[in-house]
């Protein structure tokens, strides 16, 4: 896979300080959410990011879109440094970088109708002028929602339906890169399979690049080309999916792998994956 490098992160760092008591002096503790990470994402690949909850996966995902302010580090997006971009350029850049959130119940504004939610990026970037409605319908069809749902509110959908709305919104501006922040962890198994297949299909169709964050190795194994294992803010291992499964080098990866229910694991191996 000698494809062009799409995103390159250098020494990314984000610490959160937690103060223990209100009046305590000097006892500030730092949580190293993202600790000096460097990695690359290639064009068109699905990079998996796994790790236990609280290890900094989501923070890293948000850092890649500059949704949280980094403490240190550089992030090159096709050679352009994202963190030092002027606000205006950054906002234009956001067209190409999107995110799908973990909790489909929180990531949609409860006061907006589906049409407004999906069309918002179009209005923000002045795309599809006067054809917003057609574009919204097209997107709904793309993610497998009926065009009649255009005037519904998010709370009228199930979790899977909402996640489809999220995907439609992320796709509205024809982005190139999407951070999928545990998009299926709140869905039940059959729905999550549907969503994963949808994401896979969309990637093929629009040549998308994903950073796929999950705590579930079996999902990542099914879905990703390459997997990064994260532990306490650091990346402990990066390897192609297959290799990681067969030949984990880091002890933490081994622990993670052994935590997958066995029947699943053997099935995965049988399939040969890929």
């Amino acid at each position: 896979m000698a494809k062009e490098i799409f995103i390159r992160a250098e020494n990314l760092k984000k610490y959160y300080s937690i103060t223990k008591a209100t009046f305590s002096i000097g006892s500030k503790e730092m949580v190293k959410a993202v600790d000096n990470l460097s990695f690359e994402i290639r064009k068109g690949e699905i990079l998996g990011l796994v790790g236990e909850s609280g290890c900094g996966k989501t923070t890293l995902g948000k850092l890649l879109l500059k949704l949280v302010e980094p403490d240190k580090g550089k992030l090159y997006y096709r050679g352009e440094e994202l963190f030092t971009l002027p606000a205006k350029r950054l906002r234009r850049m956001r067209r190409e970088l999107q995110i799908i959130f973990q909790d489909p119940y929180k990531s949609l504004n409860p006061r907006m109708r589906v049409a407004e939610i999906i069309a918002e990026p179009l209005f923000v970037h002045n795309l599809y002028k006067n054809k917003e409605r057609e574009r919204v319908k097209e997107l709904l069809e793309l993610v497998g929602l009926p065009p009649t749902s255009i005037s519904n509110f998010p709370h009228q959908f199930s979790g899977g339906g909402r996640q489809r709305i999220n995907i439609a919104r992320a796709l509205a501006t024809n982005p190139e890169f999407i951070v999928c922040d545990e998009p299926v962890s709140n869905l039940d198994v059959s729905i999550s399979a549907q969503i994963l297949n949808l994401l896979k299909e969309l990637r093929k169709r629009f040549a998308l690049t994903y950073l796929f964050i999950s705590h579930d190795l079996s999902v990542v194994g099914y879905f990703c080309d390459r997997i990064m294992v994260m532990y306490k803010g650091k990346i402990v291992e990066t390897a192609p999916a297959e290799e990681l499964y067969q030949n984990p080098s880091h002890p933490y990866t081994k622990t993670l792998l052994s935590s997958i229910p066995r029947i699943k694991r053997s099935l995965l191996l049988e399939k040969g994956h890929g």
């Binding site: 906002r91 234009r92 999107q98 929180k106 504004n109 918002e120 923000v124 919104r169 501006t173």
Partner: protein, 352 residues
């Protein structure tokens, strides 16, 4: 909006009824000049403290009329101000009655009133006050002050509260600290004394309009602080919501995020709080007027009419109709409270 009304009607009858009552009150306030049978400052010194005029359909000799009529009143006992009807001749009530000249909305000259009777008979539905002015007409005229002061005051203080609270919560940092300490500074003073102190900074001889504006400004300057603090708290938690992050990921500007994502989600609270705080303004105006610091005679407001009434307990016991403005204050305040209660449920799409 239509949706909201329909839900309100279905879910909370009382609130819907309150809304209808309020709309009716506001409508009569707008057309007060025309509906009131007399100008608010028209005095009739022969009719001081006249009781509410009785409306008849049958004459004393048994003759029935389809058109309602009144008798002329004359003063029978000038010490206790007892009036009696002179039953020799009926005076019929006419629609679109031609009376004294007045100006509708203060500009259009007109001689017509919605209803009225020929002089020398009078039609005082709610009786007359010390100067022989029609209480009903004065209540209508006074409702313009009392009802609008709530709306204007609430819009000013909510504009301030939403703007400052929104900015404070969204941007945080030093600005937040500064704005919130200012709000707290306003809040530490007991409201009523702050109101009196602020009133004292204005001269006592002001025109009615000036006094009106002054009261609105004073009340809003007191009211914005608590709202700003609550909005700030809500914005603080809302800005961490995933859909706000999603909007930022889309590239939405700060103003767009505040206006489209954050403030609308404070709406159910804001609307309810606004509705529930309107009575505070009406009562505030009444309280100022009651102390003689509000709207000055001969201009009418519910507060100063009540003030004139309760100045003398004997007046209240002999001529109880002078308390009717208080009843209107009561009705309005209750209606706003019921409406606010009902709107709370209805304004959230998740509850539909």
């Amino acid at each position: 909006m239509k949706e909201v009304l329909r839900r309100l009607k279905r879910r909370n009858k009382l609130a819907y009824f309150a809304l209808v009552a309020l709309l009716f009150l506001y409508l009569t306030a707008i057309f007060a000049d025309f509906i009131a049978p007399y100008p608010y400052d028209l005095q009739n010194r022969t009719m001081c403290y006249a009781p509410p005029t009785k409306i008849h359909f049958t004459e004393s000799n048994g003759r029935f009329h389809l058109r309602p009529f009144v008798y002329r009143y004359y003063l029978k006992d000038s010490i206790y101000r007892k009036y009696e009807e002179d039953k020799s001749r009926p005076y019929f009530i006419h629609l679109f009655h031609r009376g004294t000249k007045h100006r509708v909305f203060g500009v259009i000259p007109s001689q017509y009133y919605l209803f009225g009777v020929e002089a020398p008979a009078v039609l005082y539905l709610f009786g007359a006050d010390l100067y022989g002015r029609d209480t009903f007409s004065r209540i209508l005229q006074g409702s313009r002050v009392s009802l609008s002061i709530g709306l204007v005051g609430v819009s000013i203080s909510f504009f301030l509260g939403l703007l400052l609270g929104g900015i404070s919560g969204y941007f945080g940092g030093k600005l937040d600290t500064f704005l919130m300490r200012t709000a707290e500074l306003v809040m530490i003073f007991p409201g009523f004394y702050l109101m009196l102190a602020l009133r004292a900074t204005f001269p006592t001889t002001l025109s009615t309009i000036q006094v009106y504006l002054m009261i609105v400004v004073i009340l809003s300057l007191i009211g914005w602080a608590s709202l700003a603090r609550i909005i700030r708290g809500m914005v603080l938690s809302l800005r961490e919501e995933d859909y706000v992050l999603a909007a930022r990921a889309i590239g939405a500007s700060n103003s767009r995020i505040i206006l489209r994502h954050i403030l609308p989600n404070t709406l159910s609270y804001t609307i309810t709080a606004a509705t529930l705080s309107i009575p505070g303004y009406i009562l505030g105006e009444s309280a100022l007027s009651l102390l003689g610091l509000g709207i000055q005679e001969p201009a009418a407001s519910w507060g100063n009419m009540l003030a004139a009434a309760i100045g003398n307990l004997q007046v209240v016991s002999h001529f109880p109709w002078v308390l009717i403005p208080g009843f209107f204050i009561f009705i309005t305040v209750m209606a706003f409270n019921f409406l606010g209660d009902g709107l709370r449920d209805v304004f959230d799409p998740r509850m539909w």
